[in-house]
Symmetry: C2
Amino acid sequence: MTDTALLDKFKIALKKEGLKNTPQRVAVLEEIIKDEGHRESEEIYLALKNQGRHVSRATVYRTMDILVSNGFARKLNLGDGRARYESKVNSPHHDHLVCIDCGLIIEFMDQEIEDIQEEIADQHDFVLKRHIHQLFGLCKTCQK
Amino acid sequence: MTDTALLDKFKIALKKEGLKNTPQRVAVLEEIIKDEGHRESEEIYLALKNQGRHVSRATVYRTMDILVSNGFARKLNLGDGRARYESKVNSPHHDHLVCIDCGLIIEFMDQEIEDIQEEIADQHDFVLKRHIHQLFGLCKTCQK
DNA sequence: ATATATGCAAAGGATTTGCAGCTAC
DNA sequence: GTAGCTGCAAATCCTTTGCATATAT
């Protein structure tokens, strides 16, 4: 998706919810999609600050919620008590393999697991909405 | 495992780590294994309190860490910002299917997923230590 | 014009920690 | 006897919220 197409899509999503198209919201969106990373709110707040785009912490938090609920970002929980965010724009679904020593994050996707998950949900009469699947271990370097 | 066998195992685990076998620690262990549930520290604290076994919140938290790192309990993160604990004693490995509306938790285990996880780790030269796998959706009742 | 956003600082909730007194070994 | 524990309250960390001011539509 081009940047202008994305911004249009964002404006439409905001309008649909009766929300305003503010420069702060655009700044947060632009920041989250610029990077392949898995960053916490504080990192996004600081990245913006370093670019001279002063968006308050509160607005970063509030905007992340909007981005997540409208499918622009995904919220991750890596078990350390802080929420991480990653862009969902131009990024296919995947889960994460995390090194418990150095924090290295590798993305993976396995269609067979995806399918089995749906089967399990079906068997229990659940309609699946989302899932968390994270593998924790030691990467090659940290095994030594 | 019988209760005495479990207590012996616990004492050995404590000794191995240079920790003392205190009544508070035993109380927390007994409380966590008595129940099939997925409870937070506060619930465990209150359950003990209601039995007249006064263990402070701080000690509950500190003991949960010991139980988790010694394989007596598992720490869950259901994404609501509070840690949950479940007994690992007499309980085979499983993951969780959670209703996002009513909180119903169903345990599941799929050997194929377990195997694929190992393969994924292998492919990336990781040694797997643990994983989080939770499916979130709507249960039969909450779909209506 | 006015409904909604922002920024700030204060509040909140879960968890951790410092410390003085207590207890297992 | 002493290293390690407990309980308390204070501290900490991330996140949310109230409110006065500012802004998008």
